[in-house]
């Protein structure tokens, strides 16, 4: 039996311990904000925060996060008003929106680590998150806005 905390709530799992955190979140817990985009840590759509670090849920097993704190997009802020989320809305970042939870989680993790990143640092930190619609210019500007006060 694996125990972990997701968005502050205790969860248990007694199935395959190698099941990825992604499918555990989506199919077993029902937290579908975390997206499947590649399954190989190539696109970042499944980014969640484990303790204070951004990780790709698709290559993280449930057993890897036993007894740790997992934060998903649903748990980033109780009313959805994390500075990154607010900046995203102010700049009208999304097109289709599918990758955006991963982008937002990655950006939130960046700002925890580096509250005032340069544009170059933003680009580097988010280079693992693909947006096929091509919202990059706005993503970069939104992270910058979030870091300077929304």
């Amino acid at each position: 039996m694996i125990k972990l905390k997701i968005n502050g709530q205790e969860r248990t799992w007694d199935g395959d311990p190698d099941l990825s955190l992604l499918w555990f979140l989506r199919d077993e817990v029902g937290l579908t904000g975390t997206k499947f985009g590649c399954g190989q840590a190539l696109c970042g759509a499944c980014t969640v925060i484990v303790d204070k670090e951004a990780v790709r849920a698709c290559i993280t097993s449930v057993s890897d996060v036993a007894d740790r704190q997992v934060t998903t997009i649903e748990g980033l802020h109780p009313t959805g008003d994390h500075p990154v989320q607010k900046a995203w809305r102010q700049i009208n970042v999304p097109q289709c929106g599918f990758c955006q939870a991963g982008q937002i989680m990655q950006a939130a993790a960046l700002l925890m680590d580096n509250p005032k990143p340069s544009h170059a640092q933003i680009r580097e930190a988010l280079s693992g998150n693909i947006c096929r619609c091509g919202c990059y210019q706005r993503i970069e500007n939104a992270v910058h806005l979030a870091s300077t006060g929304v």
């Binding site: 499918w23 997206k35 989320q85 929106g97 955006q100 280079s127 619609c133 210019q137």
Partner: protein, 772 residues
């Protein structure tokens, strides 16, 4: 030879079962608003009267202009407006309802948008593709809004016993200026519903100068908050009680078939419940499933693990020798010989013979995969002769028809709920993944989600075609272009529907080949034969990608050959402001639009070139290693010009400091979303130019995921993309926005690379061609 004039009409060809029983109850239930504006009235089938004619009426099921279908008003004043087109990132789910709200004089903060299920008899055509939504629905949506407003005004006038001419709607209420009386939309809803629907011809549309929302770009997309909080519902996010999770192993070669499989090891995987065969259709299989072996599990992770443990023997079939290197040579050989003539003006052979100089450019563009961030996915719940579908589909109506046909049940028994699409780009116009889910749900008698992995998506896409475009341009001794021969060789999308297709369809030839707008005395366009060996499909902007690449690269080549400025060369070739005469073309396809409303107007093409040159500071001085390139292209009846600035370091590393794009898309609804589409088009254009290539060996796709089919990432994206929108004339019909931004990007890029380095890129992707 098989030629499909309009691929979307294919559904018409095969119509086995037509709508027999459209359930109006389900719609009322869906709206769920008591005392609402929606009545169980017969659908008003009337043509959309318009100041300009569009091709909307020729689409399957045309348009429906009926406020009772699209608008509901609750007693509390909340107005619900139906979005009947699919949302894949263009903002259409916001834009079309916003048009209705504008004409109704509704307050947008009191409007809710509800997604329509697939039902084209009720809503009109729902194929969200071809950059058509605003083009076809701006006027019908205005008429729907104006009809609803008129009915509200009539109800208020009756209530007050005053002539209808004395009252007017304003900001969600109807007012009687003379007495200062006011009634909210909610107070009037029940009475308004009893008013007759006014005739379209008599409707008074709002004066655009009084628009509150249209053309302003101040309204955010309706899903913005949900997207940023993880609540937005995509196809992948649908969960039903008792739902099973399935992944499918499909034949690795298109047209291959299953010989045998051993499920034993798969069934040992924790969480796997069943392994079963999925029916496949013979090649060419249209949108029908490829067939294969499905693994059913309690979650997707277990299903994928189970599939990895399957042992399967396939028969690779007729396409087992498809090889991209050999195929390219085949296309090039075909392009060097005469082919089917599809446009002929003057005498190209004679002019090329007498030309002072002939410049030849042969351009190669490989297959591309769509790789929308949400891979194909669908949920089906089939119970007896009824089916309920939840899926990200661009074609809700077509999906409904295909599900009914595949299951052998009446179309009226199929409900297709359209979720948000995590990207589409044309891939989700083909509903094979939905049909797989429907077949499995029927077999298992349970709700089933079929999830494609990224590898499935890359291996079994309906790929963008692969093409060789060869242009010969003859110059006289003054450097004027007197002859232009363009041969286009590419397997056609029509090959996915009809065996032995070797020529491109009119809708493909009409994307930048036969509609080439240059003012040249001798023009010949040819289409030599090419057979397909995989599924070919629509990819954002379709054949315009290779055509614009070839034509606009050739402009750059001609500028160099004659020592001219690229922009000046481009304007000289476009020539005088005029309407291009295509009378020499047998089937001059125009994106399904009449040329009367949407001619090829070179004045508009010139204008976007001049606008982008001005705003994009064409000719500005640049640091060493930088270069500017320009390209212009008309597609989806819009006019676009792009300037790209590149920087190339001494190792050949390419970066893009700045992009400027000018777009003339006629009358528009939401400039902020036009901007986002054009920004995205620059990313997709740079992505395909730098990296995009799907190759085949032994009939199989050689790439699998974003590691070997890379797409552009943020650290390589242009530093700035500026978008310049041409203000529309008062009566300019709306034209496409979603797709037209892509085609000019790659040629502007390679023209810029040439300016920076003197190296001419004629084959995409650029890959390592610039490395030193």
């Amino acid at each position: 030879m098989n030629i499909i004039t309009n691929p979307k009409k294919l559904r018409g060809f095969e119509k086995a079962c037509r709508v027999e029983n459209v359930s109006r109850r389900s719609v009322l239930k869906g709206l769920g608003i008591a005392g609402s504006f929606v009545l169980a009235a017969p659908i008003l089938s009337r043509p959309a009267f318009a100041a300009y004619e569009t091709g909307a009426g020729k689409m399957p099921h045309g348009t429906v202009v009926d406020p009772r279908v699209f608008v509901a008003i609750a007693p509390d004043g909340i107005v619900t407006i139906i979005a009947h087109r699919a949302e894949m990132g263009t903002g259409v789910r916001t834009s079309l309802p916003l048009i209705v709200a504008e004409e109704m004089d509704a307050d947008w903060s009191r409007v809710r948008v509800q997604q329509a299920p697939g039902d084209e008899v009720r809503y009109g055509n729902q194929d969200t593709d071809g950059s058509r939504s605003t083009r076809h629905y701006l006027m019908p949506m205005r008429q729907i809004g104006a009809s609803a407003r008129t009915m509200l005004e009539s109800a208020a006038a009756k209530r007050w016993g005053v002539p209808a001419t004395e009252v007017k709607a304003a900001n969600h209420e109807v007012v009687h200026d003379a007495t200062g009386r006011k009634l909210g939309f909610g107070d009037l809803a029940a009475d308004a519903a009893k008013e007759p629907v006014p005739s379209i011809e008599g409707l008074k549309l709002k004066d655009p100068k009084n628009f509150r929302y249209l053309g302003k770009g101040e309204v955010s997309i309706v899903d913005l908050h949900d997207i940023t909080t993880g609540k937005a519902g995509y196809g992948a996010d649908v969960r039903l009680p008792g739902m099973k999770y399935a992944v499918i192993a499909r034949p690795p070669v298109t047209g291959g078939t299953l010989v045998s499989f051993d499920p034993a090891d798969a069934l040992k995987v924790s969480g796997v419940e069943k392994v079963t065969q999925v029916k496949g259709w013979p090649w060419p299989s249209k949108f029908q499933p490829l067939g294969g072996v499905a693994v059913i599990a309690r979650n997707t992770g277990a299903a994928i693990k189970g599939r990895d443990a399957l042992k399967i023997v396939w028969d690779d079939g007729a396409n087992a020798k498809y090889d991209s290197v050999a195929y390219r040579a085949e296309l090039e050989e075909a392009a060097r010989k005469p082919g089917l003539v599809v446009r002929k003006e003057g005498d190209v052979d004679a002019a090329l013979k007498t030309a002072d100089k002939v410049i030849v450019g042969e351009y190669y563009l490989p297959h591309l995969a769509h790789v929308s961030m949400e891979p194909p996915v669908a949920v089906a719940d089939v119970k007896g002769d009824k089916a309920e579908i939840w899926a990200p589909v661009q074609s809700p109506g077509g999906t409904r028809e295909d599900v009914a046909k595949t299951l052998g049940i009446p179309e009226g028994n199929v409900t297709v709920h359209v979720t948000l699409l995590g990207g589409g780009f044309g891939r989700k116009s083909k509903c094979d993944y939905v049909l797989e889910a429907a077949l499995l749900s029927k077999e298992l008698a349970a709700p089933v989600k079929v999830q494609w992995t990224r590898e499935d998506d890359v291996h079994h896409d309906f790929l963008h075609t692969v093409s060789v475009e060869r242009i010969e341009a003859g110059l006289d001794k003054n450097g004027k272009v007197i002859a232009w021969r363009h041969r286009s060789v590419a397997p056609s999308i029509a090959s996915t529907f009809a065996a032995n297709t070797v020529h491109q369809a009119p809708f493909e030839l009409g994307m930048g080949l036969i509609d080439m707008p240059f003012e040249i005395a001798n023009i010949q366009c040819e289409n030599p034969e090419a057979a397909a060996h995989t599924r070919i499909g629509w990819f954002r902007s379709v054949s315009n990608i290779p055509r614009a690449f070839a034509v606009q690269s050739m402009v750059g080549e001609l500028a160099h050959a004659t020592n001219r400025d690229q922009k000046e060369m481009l304007l000289e070739l476009i020539g005088s402001p005029r309407i291009v005469n295509l009378s020499s073309v047998k089937d001059p396809w125009n994106y399904g639009e009449p040329y009367s409303s949407y001619p090829i107007d070179t004045a508009r093409l010139r204008r976007v070139v001049e606008l982008v040159a001005e705003k994009g500071e064409w000719g500005r001085s640049l640091p060493k290693g930088h270069g500017l390139g320009i390209a212009a292209h008309r597609s989806f009846v819009s006019y676009i010009a792009t300037i790209v600035e590149v920087a190339i370091d001494d190792k050949g590393k390419l970066t893009v400091p700045r992009v400027d794009t000018a777009i003339d898309c006629g009358t528009y609804v939401n400039p902020e979303r036009i901007q986002s589409q054009i920004e995205g088009a620059a990313i997709m254009g740079l992505s395909l130019a730098k990296y995009g290539e799907i190759t085949f060996k032994d009939g199989k796709v050689q790439q699998k995921n974003f590691d070997d089919f890379p797409v552009l990432r943020i650290d390589e994206s242009p530093s700035v993309t500026n978008v310049h929108i041409v203000p529309p004339g008062p009566d300019t019909p709306p034209s496409g926005v979603g797709e037209p931004g892509v085609p000019p990007f790659a040629p502007a890029l390679v023209n810029a690379i040439f300016a920076a380095t003197g190296k001419r890129i004629r084959a995409l992707p650029i890959g390592k061609q610039l490395e030193t």
